[in-house]
């Protein structure tokens, strides 16, 4: 990864953009840390997949987008929702299962949506969102718009049929979709090399979709490379496949220890010490005298304060009404016929 990072690293961003990216990553890190804490004390239930370590992917891939562009993701999507513009309060309230959450508490950690800002959901079945992204991109193509759709997937998803079917169709119709693999090297606890004979770039190439590898631990190169890719797609370059190489500092989900069975403590420690996207950017900026430790501290305090407020909001927010269970299963209640068969009257 270090080789790649050198190859793709560009320090052409201005100070303002670097500060924006730094602030974004601090917000995502503090959000996920708070989510982890709240999960540990039982405020958040179910599955909870944290993005800690991969913040540069959310910041670097989503910051280049316009509001009317689309993002669709996996179940590891809290920070991507924030990056696309969903309010931290609403995301945290959804994790808490509360009424003002993004889905009124009916979605949970894996299903955060923000359709007003083009965030088309977290999806829980590995690979399923690739086909949905294909359809979103079809919608853009159908209407002749110049938006793009960014679809995040994990490295393990490239072995799903949905991956191959989607890339093939995206290629034959030249759709404006970017499949961005958050390649954190492990599909849950299985190293990619154990489950694939070929490199993932070969898989995309076999469908005629160009592949690029970018350094997802370095937000400056992620942002710079992704900005270029987004503009190409906006100009009609057709579908792209991006292997965003990154590393997950925490377990696959909250129930998975950080290290142990499938990766060593040393490996994780090495990455957290040497490839933290936040310290990487801060160090770059210190070196170029674009940032002082005091300024960093201040930014961090700001991020913590936003998250503190989000958590307080979620904590005090009301539970959803039992009646809301049935509200959105169908978009409307037909005047005729029965839609529900559980015999309960709400």
């Amino acid at each position: 990864m270090s080789e790649l990072s050198k190859k793709t690293r560009k320090n052409s961003l201005d100070k303002e953009k670097m500060i924006e990216l730094l602030k974004r990553m601090l917000l995502y890190r503090r959000f996920e840390e708070k989510a982890g804490e709240s999960y540990a004390i039982g405020k958040i239930g179910g599955f909870c997949h944290l993005h800690i370590g991969q913040e540069a992917v959310a910041a670097g891939c989503i910051a280049p987008l316009r509001k009317e562009d689309y993002v669709i993701g996996t179940y590891r999507e809290h920070t991507q929702a924030l990056a696309k513009g969903v309010a931290p309060e609403a995301v945290m309230a959804e994790l808490y299962g509360k009424a003002p959450g993004t889905s009124g508490g009916l979605g949970g950690s894996m299903h955060i949506f923000g359709s007003d800002v083009g965030f088309m959901g977290g999806h829980g079945i590995v690979g399923g969102q690739l086909a949905l992204a294909l359809g979103i991109a079809w919608g853009i193509h159908y209407r002749g718009g110049d938006q793009v759709c960014v679809c995040f997937l994990g490295d393990a998803a490239v072995n799903q049929g949905a991956f191959h079917e989607s890339l093939n169709m995206a290629a034959i119709w030249n759709l404006p979709v970017i499949y961005a693999v958050e390649n954190n090297a492990y599909g849950m606890g299985t190293k990619f090399s154990r489950v694939s004979e070929t490199e993932m770039s070969q898989k995309s190439a076999s469908h005629g979709v160009p592949a690029r590898i970018i350094d997802g631990q370095d937000v400056v190169s992620t942002y710079t490379d992704f900005t270029e890719i987004v503009e190409e797609v906006r100009q009609g370059a057709g579908p792209q496949f991006v292997d965003v190489q990154c590393y997950r500092f925490k377990g696959h989900s909250m129930s998975d220890p950080v290290s142990g069975t499938y990766r060593s403590k040393k490996e994780v420690e090495d990455k957290t010490e040497n490839a933290d996207p936040i310290t990487t950017l801060a160090d770059q900026m210190f070196d170029s005298a674009l940032l002082t430790p005091e300024e960093l501290k201040e930014m961090d305090m700001e991020a913590r304060e936003i998250i503190r407020r989000a958590e307080a909001f979620a904590e005090s927010a009301p539970e959803p009404d039992t009646k809301s269970l049935y509200d959105n299963v169908y978009s409307e209640i037909n005047p005729n016929g029965r839609l529900f068969f559980d015999g309960r009257v709400i």
């Binding site: 086909a131 359809g135 989607s166 169709m169 959105n328």
Partner: protein
């Protein structure tokens, strides 16, 4: 009113709805240049072009997901399965994406779309190509399921399904495509979902059925009439929403019910209807509700065994006589 085939009725519905609403498009295998495997989409490519009539690769999961994604951003896809047997490759997108989208997004995103094609057995196509698929999709809240059995119902229900704001699973039948029937004229000929149709009025026994089985039921009702028993043939038409009121009304009159369906009995449509009758019409019943279904086996190829495995007129007549104690 013109007499047209079930196939042409579907074709008319597609043409009219595509003319009316530019966000409607059709995609699936062989729908464009080939005119559709069963010619339902004949002439549509020429009329609407290849952006709105789209030949896909044989990738059911992928193109169904494409439909759901397109619906998520406001288009109204009509996804054709060459047969519903192939829809199982796409069941993840139907159940996990389309059916749950509204609920899991808190109503932010919905999937207004139609998933259509033939379901049920034709003749000697063997186990993988001969199955009624309703029960798989009925099970999931969030989906609607429609099964027209006549040309008029095919047209009126398909038009309504395309305009509906939820994902509608629309099941046709290979054996019905050539069936002719009167179809009302007019672009606003719409049949609401959730309204059953009493295809024959009797009074002695209620045959509750749907899809191509209504024709078996009507033949059985003719035979029963000769034996002095008059049957209500209630065509459910849509299975979700389900016209429970009409079921209860018929059974309140006849006090006897037989559920006829093409699919398997275990967890099937008749099981649900029977359960509703137990819960809501117990006092009206003079006999246990019976079900006539496909044999509980994968469909055999052998012609004689296939005929035996399918629900048929003789078996239905027998069941009706049994609930009438004759």
């Amino acid at each position: 009113m013109a007499e047209i085939t079930y196939r042409d009725a579907l074709n008319q519905a597609l043409v009219e709805e595509m003319e009316r609403d530019e966000s409607v498009f059709l995609l699936g295998e062989e729908v464009a240049e080939y005119d559709g495997a069963y010619k339902v989409s004949k002439g549509l490519l020429e009329r609407f072009g290849d952006k709105r009539v789209v030949d896909t690769p044989i990738s059911e999961l992928g193109f169904t997901g494409l439909g759901v994604g397109a619906a998520m951003v406001g288009l109204r896809p009509v996804v054709e399965f060459m047969t519903f047997n192939f829809s199982f490759l796409a069941i993840d997108q139907l159940i996990n994406s389309a059916a749950k989208m509204g609920s899991m997004s808190g109503g932010q995103v919905t999937a207004p779309m139609v998933l259509r094609g033939p379901s049920g057995a034709a003749l000697q196509l063997g186990s993988q190509h001969s199955q009624a698929c309703e029960a798989w999709y009925l099970h999931a809240p969030g989906l609607k399921v429609v099964t027209p059995g006549t040309p008029a119902d095919a047209k009126g229900l398909l038009k309504t399904a395309i305009r509906d704001n939820d994902p509608v699973v629309f099941m046709e039948s290979e054996l019905l495509y050539n069936l002719k029937g009167e179809v009302p004229d007019g672009e606003e000929f719409l049949i609401p979902l959730g309204v059953a149709d009493l295809k024959r009025e009797g009074g002695d026994v209620s045959i509750i059925t749907h899809g191509q089985m209504i024709h078996v039921a009507l033949r059985a009702a003719d035979q029963l009439a000769k034996k002095g028993l008059e049957a209500d043939v209630l065509d459910l038409r849509s299975l979700r929403p389900l016209d429970v009121e009409s079921i209860l009304e018929s059974v309140a009159k006849t006090n006897r019910a037989v559920c006829l369906e093409e699919g398997w009995s275990y967890g099937g449509v008749g099981a649900q209807v029977t359960s509703i009758l137990m819960e809501e019409a117990f006092d009206d019943l003079d006999a246990p509700v019976l079900r006539v279904t496909q044999a509980d086996v994968p469909m055999p190829y052998n012609k004689r065994l296939e005929a035996w495995a399918k629900p048929n007129v003789a078996r239905l007549v027998e069941a009706c006589e049994k609930v009438c104690y004759v």
